[in-house]
């Protein structure tokens, strides 16, 4: 009886021993979860963030992005793409030295067109040939365009923007178009809307169809405070009209506002004569043609003989307030997306927003009527619209950025003093 009692008591103590042991084991296993040490003064992370911020300030002082996006290739005599690549590589090497060896990094650029824009074109071969020769020529920041014919059934996210020629019924392709818009892909429509377009076309390009007759009118950018109009008008004056002067006399023509101006190169003096300009223009010299435009000779191309590049701006006090002139259809009412107008109807629209919750993937859409394609000032407007629609958002080295990273962002006032602000975010990650 007594032994039995002792035995029961012993079993009880063994249970206590087991419980204590088990509790400690459990507690030991869970310790890391209970006590997560966090140092509010994480200098390792702070130092890397500081380095990223310093780097962005420093490359502003060094004008690194000016050299990458608008390289001085006519001075160095090197192909523009090669020079851009070389300058980008230099930035990569410098950034590598700033961060610890185990760190990787990436630059995100917003509000600057990429060096290469990939275009899917819903058009025929002759449209592509015209685009390639007259519109998609090297320009402000973008040195290379690639254009591929597409059908609405095979839109691909490998393109930056899509160009559609002529009025088409886009309604049947709503889902494929919407999926591209949600990815931030741009759309450009070049079409006269002589009859009411389908709802999808109206929705994408912000078109408010009213119908109306054609007329010869002057038209210009409206509401410069509007972000899309402001952006397009600034880029318009920075983009380049590329003119070929035929050898052996190196003569060509400039078509603006319905006028034709004779152009001839003077290789001996390294300048260009433009009819109605009082003197032979050297690079960066301007000529004001009264009531028409202010022309600036950007460059005589040192690499491709016969080619010259001209910038065009308004004769008025606001250089962006350029006035176009053409025979235009007046079938679309002025709306919140209108960028070019004669005062009563919309001549071109630029639509922003919708389709995406993120600013980064906000699709840009541009519509312009099917203008007289010999007009260089209107060709420049289409070129500007296509470049703008590309989204102007890209990653310099195309690396995957992990969630756990540091980031510093810096706002720059522009490239080569063009006053088109852009932002750069420098991401860094590692251990």
């Amino acid at each position: 009886m007594l032994d039995n009692n002792m035995g029961k008591m012993g079993r009880g103590f063994i249970r206590v021993f087991e419980v204590v042991l088990f509790t400690f084991l459990l507690f030991g296993i869970l310790i890391p979860s209970f006590f997560r040490y966090y140092d509010p003064n994480d200098w390792a992370s702070a130092k890397n963030k500081m380095a990223a911020q310093d780097m962005l300030f420093t490359i502003e002082k060094n004008q690194t992005f000016d050299n990458i996006f608008i390289p001085d290739y006519w001075q160095s005599g090197t192909n523009r793409a090669t020079l851009q690549e070389k300058n980008t590589e230099s930035l990569r090497n410098n950034t590598e030295r700033v961060f610890p060896a185990s760190y990787d990094f990436e630059y995100e650029i917003k509000n600057v067109p990429p060096s290469r824009i990939s275009i899917g074109c819903l058009c025929n071969e002759s449209d592509i040939a015209w685009l390639t020769s007259k519109i998609l020529t090297p320009s402000y920041t973008t040195s290379e365009f690639s254009i591929t014919p597409v059908t609405p059934n095979n839109f691909s996210d490998s393109f930056d923007t899509f160009v559609i020629f002529g009025k088409q019924n886009l309604e049947p392709y709503k889902s494929s178009i919407t999926s591209m818009l949600q990815l931030g892909k741009g759309f450009v429509l070049i079409a006269n809307l002589s009859s009411e377009p389908d709802n999808m076309t109206k929705e994408i390009f912000g078109i408010n169809y009213t119908g109306g007759s054609n007329a010869n009118v002057n038209f210009q950018f409206m509401d410069m405070m509007d972000p899309a109009t402001n952006g397009l008008s600034k880029r318009y004056t920075e983009n380049l009209i590329r003119i070929y002067t035929l050898e052996p006399n190196l003569k060509g023509k400039l078509h603006i506002k319905g006028n034709i101006y004779n152009i001839s190169q003077s290789p001996d003096n390294n300048c260009v004569n433009i009819s109605s300009c009082p003197s032979c223009l050297h690079e960066n010299q301007s000529c004001l043609i009264s009531g028409v435009a202010n022309l600036t000779l950007y460059q005589i191309d040192p690499l491709y003989a016969g080619w010259i590049d001209i910038k065009i701006s308004s004769v008025s006090s606001n250089s962006r307030n350029y006035t176009f002139s053409d025979y235009v259809p007046r079938s679309v009412a002025i709306g919140k997306s209108t960028v070019l107008s004669d005062g009563t109807s919309a001549i071109a629209n630029a639509a922003l927003g919708g389709y995406s919750i993120s600013y980064e993937t906000e699709p840009r859409r541009f519509w312009i009527y099917q203008y007289d394609s010999s007009q260089d000032d209107l060709n420049l407007m289409l070129k500007t619209g296509i470049m703008w629609s590309s989204g102007e958002h890209f990653f310099l080295f195309k690396k995957a950025i992990p969630d756990k990273r540091i980031v510093a962002t810096h706002f720059y006032t522009g490239l080569n003093g063009n006053n088109i602000p852009f932002s750069v975010s420098l991401y860094a990650w590692g251990y």
């Binding site: 007594l2 021993f17 204590v20 030991g28 310790i31 003064n41 310093d54 420093t58 002082k61 700033v98």
Partner: protein
Amino acid sequence: MAKDKKGQVNIYFIISVMLFISLSIYLVYLLMSFYPSKGEAMRINALYGKAYTISELLIKDEGYPADWNEHNIERIGLSSIPYELNSTKISRFKNMCDPYNKTSRETIYNSSGLLDEFFVINIAYLNGTSIVQCSPSGDIEKNSEYLRKSTSQVKRIATLNGEIIEVEVYVG
């Protein structure tokens, strides 16, 4: 018989208590090791703060007076405008950097707001080519191990004559 057992402690109970105490001690030790020494952490943070302040002065401030020299300097500063270092000021700073000259040493300490901390400034191009290596506290070679282990180091990036450079400040 049962009453006789009342005052005695069972061997299992003793083992359990011993186990409890030893594991408790181990646990406390383990918990303590999770946290760094607060005192040391505060010291390091204060040093980082000083290193950061000096680095800010070096790359963003022109110093006082703006055209300072080793005789009239009141506050150190190597830039003309923020992030653009001035080569003349760097040369003057380099000339002031003599750890064995008591006057120079005091000038640097006073102009940078330090008292008697160990203190090194390295300015170099990103490829490693040194521009200035200044150690007012003494011979940098002799202190290299101390530099590595005990100091707070802040590295800043700036530009000098169009080249990207790094400015390292060690305070210990």
